[in-house]
């Protein structure tokens, strides 16, 4: 008998889980989709840095970036990324009242007010960014 201690695999006490344990139930699937949204957050940062680099290099490189972004594959990737980003934003804002318990004059600020403030900030910042970019 191998009595070696393995930190994360106490094999004798726990049955092995299938790798796709999260595929069977809706709530598990939503959990994994929410976790996977982080990959698209990272992709948007990469895309944003490509844009910044192109803009800094001049008009030709900027035009190349625009051509790249209108490539059907790139467009499809960005539409998928956008869906994940919006999913991330909505789940993040809806969970905010659970992470932030705000008290004002001794009374707890209602959960709906905290969620509402996040959505209002989202709308405001999006409008500001669009206004600045569209000039």
């Amino acid at each position: 008998m191998n009595a070696r201690y393995t930190e994360f695999h106490p094999r004798w006490h726990r049955p092995r889980m299938p790798v796709f344990w999260w595929a069977g139930r809706r709530s598990y699937l939503i959990f994994v989709i929410r976790e996977l949204s982080s990959v698209f957050v990272a992709w948007s940062v990469v895309f944003l840095l490509l844009l910044v680099h192109a803009v800094s290099q001049g008009g030709t490189q900027y035009q190349q970036f625009l051509n790249l972004s209108s490539n059907p594959w790139m467009l499809a990737l960005n539409v998928i990324a956008l869906a994940f980003l919006v999913f991330h934003a909505i789940t993040w804002f809806n969970l905010a009242p659970q992470a932030m318990v705000v008290h004002l004059r001794g009374r707890r600020v209602p959960r709906s007010a905290i969620t509402g403030a996040h959505y209002a900030g989202w709308a405001l910042l999006s409008a500001l960014a669009a206004w600045l970019i569209l000039g």
Binding site: E35, L36, L48, L66, N78, L82, A129, G135
Partner: protein, 117 residues
């Protein structure tokens, strides 16, 4: 011990990154990933974007967004690999890959936004 002490810091980066990404990334991706490429609205001129990006406030906001969002990815993706794919036994490799990737990306963002513009 070192890992335990780092946990609150990466958690803080994770939450602020999640908030920054949720607030700012959708509008940027809507515009540059969909609206301009699809031709619904003509893309802004390069000169306009350059002057906008060179504004010190824009640089700071974009750099903060990039760094925090990358660490948000690193932390969340680390646990996606642990739980989703049950790779907790590769913990060291995953930690180096995730946070190391975020560090490299942050350095690149810093170079592009502070020195490259």
């Amino acid at each position: 011990m070192a890992k335990r002490r780092a946990e609150p810091l990466v958690w803080l980066l994770f939450t602020s990154g999640g908030l920054a990404a949720a607030l700012l990334l959708p509008v940027l991706l809507v515009l540059f990933g969909l609206v301009f490429p699809a031709g619904w609205v003509p893309a802004p001129a390069q000169a306009h974007l350059l002057s906008l990006a060179r504004n010190p406030l824009t640089r700071v906001v974009l750099l903060g967004l990039c760094v925090l969002a990358l660490f948000h990815w690193a932390h969340r993706f680390r646990y996606t690999l642990y739980d989703g794919l049950q790779l907790k036994h590769l913990s060291k490799l995953i930690i180096v890959g995730c946070y190391g990737g975020a560090l490299v990306g942050s350095a690149l963002a810093g170079y592009l936004l502070l020195a490259g513009l």
